[in-house]
Symmetry: D3
Subunit: 136 residues, 6 copies
C-alpha cells in the first residue's frame, strides 16, 4: 500500500531573473520587472511529498519529524532570508526561476531519502503561481 506523505514549509528570499550572457535589453524583454537589478523577493511556500510503502511496524511512510528535519537542514537553512542569486551556490550560474528552484530542491532532498521513496516538490512563488517537479 503506497501512500504519499506531504509536509509544508516556507522560506523568504530575494532573487532576480537574468542571464549574465545577455545584455540588459534582452533580459528586460524576456524577464520584465523580474529582471530588476536591485532584486525583489517572495515568500516561497514549499510542499515536499514522499511516496512509499506504509511501514507495518510504525504505520508511517516516513516519520514526519525526520522529513521536517531534512527540509530544515537542506532547504530552510540554505535559502531562508537569503539572496538566491548571490548567496546560494546552486544559482551562481543558474537562473533562479521557480522551475529551476524546484529542481534544485528535488536534487538536494532526494539523496537524503531511502532510494525506494519517490519524491515530488511543489513550490509556490506567489499564492497564484506555482510549479511541481518529480524527477522525471
Amino acid at each position: 500500500m503506497k501512500v504519499t506523505v506531504s509536509r509544508k514549509a516556507h522560506f523568504n528570499a530575494a532573487h532576480r531573473l537574468f542571464r549574465k550572457d545577455w545584455g540588459f535589453e534582452k533580459n528586460d524583454e524576456i524577464f520584465g520587472k523580474c529582471n530588476n537589478p536591485n532584486f525583489h523577493g517572495h515568500n516561497y511556500e514549499l510542499i515536499v511529498s514522499v511516496t512509499g510503502e506504509i511501514d507495518k511496524e510504525t504505520g508511517f511512510v516516513i516519520d514526519m519529524k525526520i522529513l521536517k528535519d531534512i527540509i530544515k537542514s537542506e532547504i530552510e537553512d540554505a535559502f531562508d532570508h537569503k539572496n538566491l542569486n548571490l548567496e546560494v551556490p546552486e544559482f551562481k550560474e543558474l537562473n533562479p526561476t521557480a522551475e529551476n528552484i524546484a529542481v534544485v530542491i528535488y536534487n538536494k532532498i532526494k539523496p537524503k531519502l531511502d532510494d525506494v521513496m519517490e519524491l515530488e516538490i511543489t513550490l509556490y512563488e506567489t499564492p497564484r503561481n506555482f510549479v511541481s517537479y518529480s524527477g522525471a
Copy 2:
C-alpha cells in the same frame, strides 16, 4: 526535466443546471436547487497547469505572462460576469456542470499552447467542490 507550471485565475458567473429535453420534474429530481430557473452563481477559481521541459535558455517551461494572457483572453474575458447558459456559446446545448466547464476550458486553452505541452484544468465551483480534467 519536465516541470508543471500552474497559474490561478478566477471568474464569477451565473448558471443553471438543466436539460431542455427534460421536463421540470425530472430536472428538479436530478439537479435539485441547481435547477433554479432564475439562476444562481459562483466565484469559480481556476488552476491552469502546463507540463513541459524547462527551456535551457530562460529557465521557464512557459512564460507566466504568456500563460496569464491566454487565460485572460480565452477564459476570463469570455466567462467573467456572464450567464453561462445564456451568454457563453459552448453552453447553449451543454449543461454547465463543473465537469463540462472544465472540459470546455481545456478545449479552449489547449490549441493556444505548444503541441508538446500537457495541460490540466482544475476548477473550483465552491471552496468545497472541485473537478480536474487533463484531456484523457
Copy 3:
C-alpha cells in the same frame, strides 16, 4: 468578560447591480459588467460575529449550534442557490451590493439574538472583496 464568537457560513447566489429608475447607460456607467441583465453570481462567504459575556454555567457566549441554526434558517435557506434580485424580497427595491446584503443579513439575524448581544456581519463577495457591518 466579553468575548466575540464567530461562525463561518456560505451561500451561492446570482445577482445584478442596477437601479430600475436609471436607464441602461447610467447603470452601465456606474455598475459596469455587474449590470449584466442576464445576471452573474458569487460564492458568498459569511462570518457572523456575536459579542457578549461568557455564561458562567456553560462557558459559552452563545451555543454555536444555536448560532448555526439561526444562520441556516435566516440566511442560507433564504439566499442559497437563489437569484437575489428576483427571489429575495428584501432586494425587490434594494440594489444587492455587498454593502446592502450585509445590512440585510444584520437586520435578519439581530432580532433572533438576545438584546444584549452585539452583532457584526462580514461578507466576502469574492476572495478579494469583502464588507463588514455592525449596526452603527
Copy 4:
C-alpha cells in the same frame, strides 16, 4: 472523457499513536508527544476524489449530493467528535497514523462507488501535514 470530482469534508477527533506490544519507552522514542496516553486531537480535513467518465445525460461524473451523503454516513458519522483509538473499530488494533486513517477511509468509501470509478483520499492531519492514498 475522464474527469476527477473532489469534495472536501472534515471531522474532529482525538487519537494517540502507540503500539500495545511495545513498552512506553519504545513508543515514546518512535512517536514522541503523539504517544501522550491522555490523547491529543486534530481537525482532520478530508478530500475525496472520484475519477470516471462524464455521464452524457447529466454532465456529472457522480452527483455531488450522493458523494456528500457517502462521506457523511461512512466517515463523518463514524469519526467526528470521536476518540479514534477507543471508539472506531478499525483502529482497535491499527495505529491511527494519518497514513492508516487514509487507507481506512479509502476502504470504507470504495465499495459504495460504482466499480469503474477510481478513488483518491487526501487527508490533512494539520494544515502543514497531509497524506494521500489511491489504492495502489
Copy 5:
C-alpha cells in the same frame, strides 16, 4: 502612531466539554457530542495581536522573535499535544470551551508584555468557528 502586530501559531489538543457538577444527561443536552467522555480534538489556530506605539529606533512595535518566543513558552509548550481537561492546570475546574481557552491564553500572555501594550487573542477551534478576546 499605534500599530497592531499579529502572529499566528497553532497547537493540537484533545478536550471534552462538561461540568463535573452536572449529570451526564444535562451535559449531553448542553454540550452534545462535545461531551464525549473519551475526548475529541482540534488543531487550534491562534492569532496573538499586540497593539502599541512604533519604536522610533527599531521600527518595531514588538520584536516578532520575542512575541514568537512568548507564544512558544506560554502556550505551545503548555497546550500542544495535550489533553486540556487532564493535563492543563487552568482547565482542571474550568470548562475548555473556545471562549474560556481564549481568556486563559490572554491571561498567560498579558503579564509577559509591556504594560502599555494592548492584547487581543483570536482562537480558531475549527476553520469555521473562532472566538476573540481583548481583556475588556
Copy 6:
C-alpha cells in the same frame, strides 16, 4: 449606516532591516537574519479597508473599481517587484519594517479618499506575521 469595504491586493518586494547609523553588530543583534546586506524578500498581501456611509443612490460605500485603481497607482506600481530600501523614496531613511510599510501605505492612500472616509491598512509580511494601522 456605516459599512467597511475591504479590498485585497499584493506586491512582491525585496528589503533589508537595518539602520545606517548603527554598526553591523548592533543591526545584527536587533534585526538578525532580516539584516542580510544582500536583501531578502516577501510576497506582501495587503488589505485596504475603507469605512463610510452607504451611498443611497448606488448602494456603495466606495466603488470597488475606484479603490482598486487607487491601490494600483499608489501602492502596486510603486512597490511591486522593487527593492524597498533602494527604490522606494519613503524608505530611503526609514527602516522598512512591516509596521513602517503599513504607515507609509496609509499615508499614500488616505489623501486619495473622501475626507469623511476612515481607512485601515492590514499588511501580511508572511502568512504568519501581519500588522494593521488605522491612523490613530
